[in-house]
């Protein structure tokens, strides 16, 4: 159907629509003062994410390497720009191989299949949401989406100063953000399903383990 035909049908429908009047509302409620880090830690743990630190920027590579070797990882994918330097080299020193993350225009499927054995993905995070224990990722050059998706283990690096209370409050602060990145993602713990008898199972398709290294 042509756009105009489709939309004029919608417009005509609106003329006879019976919609109730909206309730009177005041703006977004303001949250009470709270220790955001403590709340974040508690909520992240409640969804089976593991929160480390806070560590200093210098302490990050060691913390990440410890997590990766703790999972017996052999391969990793890392964002090019992370909140702390030296992470990729620390992992390579620890014996892990780095996997290329740029999907070519040709030979796409062959490239994708090399991700089968990806163990760990390391990303940054532009923010953390304390109420839900979520980390917020934006993607673009040097920041692949698949790093937080394909491997069994996802390690996110998050600065304490970037903690917010809720998604609604953060969205109000970042009105233009969706347009600035092809993919904005809120990750709240490891992948999960309750589809079989409502029994909780982690790591269905996405990572089974989510580690958040806090940086101060």
């Amino acid at each position: 159907m042509e756009r105009d035909t489709f939309l004029s049908r919608v417009g005509r429908a609106s003329l006879t629509s019976h919609l109730p009047d909206p309730p009177a509302v005041s703006g977004l409620p303001e949250p009470d003062e709270i220790d955001l880090l403590a709340l974040f830690r508690s909520r992240a743990q409640a969804v089976s994410a593991v929160v480390h630190g806070p560590v200093t920027r210098h302490g990050v590579p060691r913390a990440v390497a410890a997590v990766a070797t703790g999972h017996d990882a052999a391969t990793f994918m890392a964002w090019d720009s992370l909140p702390a330097p030296g992470v990729a080299s620390a992992l390579q020193t620890a014996g892990l191989d780095r996997v290329d993350h740029v999907i070519p225009a040709e030979g796409r499927v062959d490239h994708n299949l090399t991700y089968r054995d990806l163990d760990v993905g390391i990303t940054g995070a532009v923010a953390g949401l304390a109420e839900s224990g979520s980390v917020v990722l934006t993607h673009g050059e040097g920041r692949p989406r698949l790093a937080s998706l394909v491997p069994e283990v996802h390690i996110a690096l998050l600065e304490v100063s970037n903690l917010e209370r809720t998604l609604a409050h953060w969205a109000r602060k970042t009105p233009t953000l969706p347009a600035e990145t092809t993919n904005l993602v809120f990750v709240t713990g490891p992948s999960r399903t309750g589809d079989i008898e409502q029994q909780l199972n982690l790591g269905v398709h996405g990572p089974r383990h989510v580690h958040i290294v806090m940086i101060r």
Partner: protein
């Protein structure tokens, strides 16, 4: 063997079955989690009010929002297609897939995709379509349909799934859910990495940026919209808000209402296909905006149902849904919201009786994140059905006689005496064990109270002033 064509027929076949009991128990669990989330989040109530304002605004300005949305999708490199009905939506999707040489198609959960029955059409075109949401994957393997809009195979046991995987995937039998998940993960990983195209739904579109919000837990939604070359998003035309700020408010109500989670594991906001320096993401993004009867709903008395954000809370709280399960409602949309959406999209034939599948208890409206006035619309649909002469004869005739007595006090008094006299022989100690006629349904399982020999009005009159 054909399916019964009435809600009651389907319901009678399902009540007391293991399937219906499992759905009922599952629904109660979801509801308990939803209640816990609501209690633990003091901002929930004002956010629900805001979400209602946002969704009603969207419906009032729907054509304008859709126009802006489409402009923005195109500005970010995506393509927008407009499907007037299910057939057109199927055709458009088929053409895109054939045009891009796609053979293996990975799907994530999308109610619209089931509503338009896209899988059969794509399979006819020779495409291999695989559901990747675990519950949908299981349903697809079983040749079954979902019994709950959030949890598709609530009606199946782990043993059912174990047997299914053994038969269809050629693996050794296990009924350990951990192992079953492992099997599905390994099997579907191949699909994600090899797929030529991904078909997703859209939980919410954001007009101002042309963004698609996907709310999932498993990771398959993100995988199928990142790894394959082509991403097709099927969008019900009403699933839209104006701004990112609006989307934030609605998202605070969605997961909490559905499963009691603060946010689902993955809330993903997609704006356009892969950009020049993006390391991954699809080369092509196609949004198919689907009407399929929604403009007819919008034009009428039940327009408010289009504010629904598909959380499933009304299903989980409904005493009728919990007793019969989703399959009793006859289409992919079940429970209270389904009772309004289905006749809206597909007409009153034969769906008029869904509006009668309710005690009008109002629990649905109480838990709806956007406070949709469901009981009011159920009564409106009942009014329409009555006006179209669809009610059973005994009901219309009986009510007309009752109304005649209730508008004539002398007749009212006579009717009471007559009813008391008539039921005297069939009652004992004030109760009737077997009622004739339409009352028969009551007395199969309950005693019926017998009209009193002396009514209240009689007593008052002889009491004097």
């Amino acid at each position: 063997m054909s399916e019964p064509v009435t809600f009651l027929g389907r319901a009678e076949a399902l009540i007391g079955t293991r399937e219906a009991d499992a759905v009922g128990t599952g629904a109660r669990t979801f509801l308990a989690m939803r209640d816990g989330a609501a209690e633990g989040f003091p901002m929930f109530e004002p956010l629900r009010d805001q979400a209602r304002v946002i969704r009603l605004h969207s419906l009032r300005h729907l054509d304008r929002l859709l126009a802006r949305f489409a402009d923005q999708v195109e500005a970010s490199g995506g393509q927008v297609h407009w499907a007037g009905d299910a057939e057109e939506a199927r055709q458009i999707a088929g053409e895109i897939l054939q045009g891009t040489g796609s053979k293996l198609v990975a799907k994530s959960k999308s109610m619209v995709s089931e509503e338009i029955e896209i899988n059969a059409h794509l399979e006819e075109l020779g495409l291999d379509v695989v559901e990747t949401d675990l519950g949908e994957f299981i349903a697809q393997l079983a040749g079954d349909t979902p019994s709950h809009i959030i949890a598709p195979v609530l009606h199946m046991t782990r043993q059912d799934v174990g047997r299914l995987f053994e038969e269809k995937l050629g693996v050794a039998y296990t009924d350990d859910p951990f192992e079953l998940n492992r099997i599905a993960r390994i099997h579907l990983r191949e699909v994600f990495l090899r797929a030529d195209a991904g078909i997703s739904g859209v939980n919410m579109a954001v007009a101002e940026s042309g963004s698609l919000v996907l709310v999932t837990n498993e990771g398959n939604g993100r995988l199928i919209t990142t790894a394959p070359r082509v991403h097709i998003a099927l969008m019900g035309m009403e699933r839209i808000v104006s701004t990112w700020e609006d989307a934030g408010v609605v998202l605070e109500t969605l997961a909490r209402s559905a499963t009691g989670q603060h946010l689902s594991v993955y809330t993903s906001v997609i704006t356009g296909p892969r950009r020049e320096h993006d390391p991954d993401g699809p080369e092509e993004l196609h949004v198919i905006v689907v009407d399929n009867g929604r403009s007819r709903i919008l034009a009428g008395e039940t327009a408010e149902i289009l504010a629904c954000i598909r959380c499933g809370a009304c299903l989980n709280v409904c005493p009728v849904f919990r007793t019969v399960g989703g399959h009793a409602y006859g289409t992919v949309y079940s429970g209270p919201m389904g009772s309004i959406v289905t006749p809206g999209l597909h007409g009153m034939d034969p769906w008029w009786d869904l509006a009668h599948a309710s005690t009008l208890c109002g629990a649905c409206e109480e838990v709806c994140p956007v406070r949709i006035q469901i009981p009011r619309m159920l009564i409106e649909l009942r009014r329409q059905a009555a006006a179209e002469g669809r009610l059973p004869g005994w009901l219309e005739w009986g009510m007309r006689r009752y109304a005649r007595a209730a508008t004539d006090p002398a007749r009212w008094a006579r009717s009471k005496r007559w009813a008391a006299r008539l039921t005297a022989p069939i009652s004992s100690q004030g109760w009737i064990r077997r009622m004739p006629g339409p009352g028969r349904g009551w007395t199969t399982s309950r005693d019926f109270p017998r009209p009193a020999k002396e009514s209240f009005a009689d007593w008052w009159r002889q009491r004097g002033t």
